[in-house]
């Protein structure tokens, strides 16, 4: 509240009020003084003429009967009028008849009466009053009055004037000190609020409205402005927030697509190295077989040729299998798999698969099936076959010779449960979590051919059947995969997934 600007507003107001009231007071006093002066002049003249008339009337007899002693006596009555300093009477011929002077002062009387009437002469008022009796003029009364009374009155008037001026000024100062607050206070309050707002940047503050005048309106307008600023701030904030959110989203999307691209690149390079290995092995076998057939010549035994041809067939099958895996994955990833449900018995189905895999078994290996009664399913046979072929061929592949493989199937509460258990090399504990990843191969199988796609494909197939897959494995002791899916598919036939 004490900044020099604030003080100046109050001072300005005070100055203006004092100036205006001072000017008004001064002008009023001057006007009154002038008025008073003229009033007093005329009053003085009137007073003197009244006295003159009385004296003249009283003097009639004295003049009529030529009694100047009496006349003097009458004039002496003027003693009561201290301002009348000299008076005299002239007879009708204009000769001095009697005279009067106040105190010891000596005043020359005009030799002859002058024109009737009263007038100011230097610092005196003089008057000639005719003395008339009936229709006759008996003589003239002369009077001379000083203006001491007038000056005395002017003196009093001056004192009053100065007191009024000072009093009025003081009153104006006092009142303006109080009244200007009604103007300056809301302005200062407003200024204070503005200062605080700009300091704290808090637009939720509001200036207090005092009256219903223009300052009140200003305060209201200011508050409305603040409300608008606040609203706009909120809008800007929410807009900023939205923008930030968008930026984050976009960044995430970008990161996502970048990651996807990176993943794709990684997969590509993994595919290249996998393909180079996995394709070369059967191709090497095929080429070596062909080279041998070439060297056998025409006279060689058919048995040897037949053996080489079998090898070529097997290698080509192997290559076809790898290609099928790629195709399955490609199909599933693009959602191109069609589900074709049909009714079949899980027992028979399992046995067929075991029969099919017999050629793959290593020496001394066997697959033992155990099911429970009739197990009629309504499911996609092809998908389920793919799943079991994958799991069982893995079991054969990663088991040593003479190891038993178990296939257990059961149905309870409309839920089919199939377990494939081997006594193979197992999966190292640290790598189990990655088992279903694409192109993933555990470190302990790097010498065994494989694409790293099998389990990934199995998982996706099981999901198509609305089922789940999990496994338990101990390194060098064996692995057990458990697949669970509904006995009857919820899908009708031929529903594109």
């Amino acid at each position: 509240m004490k900044s020099p600007k604030n003080i100046s507003i109050q001072k300005k107001l005070l100055k203006f009020i004092l100036m205006i009231s001072g000017i008004i007071l001064f002008v009023t006093c001057i006007a009154f003084s002038v008025c008073e002066y003229y009033t007093f002049r005329s009053t003085t003249l009137l007073n003197l003429s009244t006295i003159g008339k009385v004296i003249a009337a009283n003097s009639t007899a004295a003049l009529a009967f030529d009694n100047n002693l009496d006349a003097e006596e009458i004039l002496t009555a003027l003693k009561a009028e201290s301002h009348v300093i000299a008076a005299c009477l002239y007879d009708k011929d204009g000769n001095l008849f009697s005279q009067y002077t106040s105190g010891s002062s000596v005043h020359p009387f005009p030799e002859k009466p002058e024109e009737d009437g009263y007038r100011f002469e230097h610092f005196y008022v003089i008057g000639f009053e005719p003395v008339i009796l009936g229709n006759n003029r008996l003589g003239t009364l002369y009077m001379k009055s000083d203006l001491k009374a007038m000056f005395a009155r002017f003196k009093i008037w001056g004192i009053i004037l100065i007191s009024v001026l000072l009093g009025g000024f003081a009153l104006a100062y006092f009142l303006s000190g109080i009244l200007q607050k009604s103007i300056s206070r809301p302005i200062l309050a407003l200024a204070e609020t503005v200062k605080e707002i700009s300091n704290v940047m808090d637009y939720s503050m509001r200036a207090k409205r005092s009256d219903n005048d223009e300052l009140g309106l200003l305060t209201t307008a200011f508050n409305q402005m603040l409300t608008q600023i606040q609203e706009q701030n909120l809008e800007i904030k929410s807009f900023n927030h939205m923008l930030e959110q968008k930026v984050i989203e976009r960044t995430l999307e970008l990161t996502d697509s970048l990651e996807r691209e990176q993943e794709m690149n990684e997969m590509k390079s993994r595919f290249v190295s996998m393909a180079s290995h996995e394709f070369r092995t059967p191709l090497t076998a095929i080429l070596s077989s062909i080279s041998l057939i070439e060297m056998y010549g025409t006279d060689q035994e058919d048995v040897k040729k037949g053996k080489q041809i079998e090898r070529i067939k097997s290698s080509v099958k192997n290559l076809t299998h790898i290609l099928n895996d790629f195709l399955s994955l490609e199909k599933m990833e693009h959602g191109k798999v069609e589900i074709e449900n049909e009714k079949f018995d899980l027992n028979e189905f399992s046995k067929d698969i075991i029969e099919e895999l017999k050629g793959m078994l290593k020496q001394g290996q066997s697959i033992n099936f155990s099911g429970g009664g009739v197990m009629d399913l309504f499911q996609d046979k092809t998908i389920l076959k793919n799943v079991l072929l994958n799991l069982l061929s893995n079991a054969i592949k990663y088991s040593e010779v003479d190891k038993e493989i178990n296939l257990l199937a059961s149905v309870s509460n409309n839920l089919v449960s199939i377990i494939v258990r081997d006594q193979g090399i197992g999966i190292p504990a640290g790598e189990q979590k990655n088992m279903f990843g694409k192109f993933f191969r555990a470190k302990n199988v790097s010498h065994i051919e494989g694409t790293g796609l099998g389990l990934n494909i199995v998982k996706k197939y099981i999901e198509l059947l609305d089922g789940t897959i999990c496994f338990e494995s101990k390194h060098k002791q064996g692995t057990s995969f458990t697949v669970e899916f509904p006995q009857n598919s919820k899908y009708e036939n031929n529903i594109a997934y």
Binding site: S273, S276, T281, T284, L287, E294, M295
Partner: protein, 124 residues
Amino acid sequence: MKTILLIEDNLSIRENTCELLELEGYKVICASNGKTGLQLAKKELPDIILSDVAMPMMNGHELFAALKKDSSTRDIPFVLLTSSVEKKEIQAALEKGVNGFIGKPFEKDVLFQKISFLLLENNS
């Protein structure tokens, strides 16, 4: 008659390559993994060793390192049959002293030429 030690885990490739080399007039000893290969190499002291890279028990690189440690097998020419196309891998192996590479799948003539060249080089 020169003796060749062939170490290859894939049965078809092992048997076929063995037969091809025998038809070419070499005596061939076969092993299905690196460990057996190392034992045979020390025992038979072949004139040349052909080895696959990716094998169970002991892979080709490990086998080569083991052969280099033994004075009896140190100077036997060593050829890797590899399906790898990684130049870095080949470069590293050559620097370690591997005598040759034969990329899978291979033509029989390439195989024969490489072997006869290395045998000649070793004799001289």
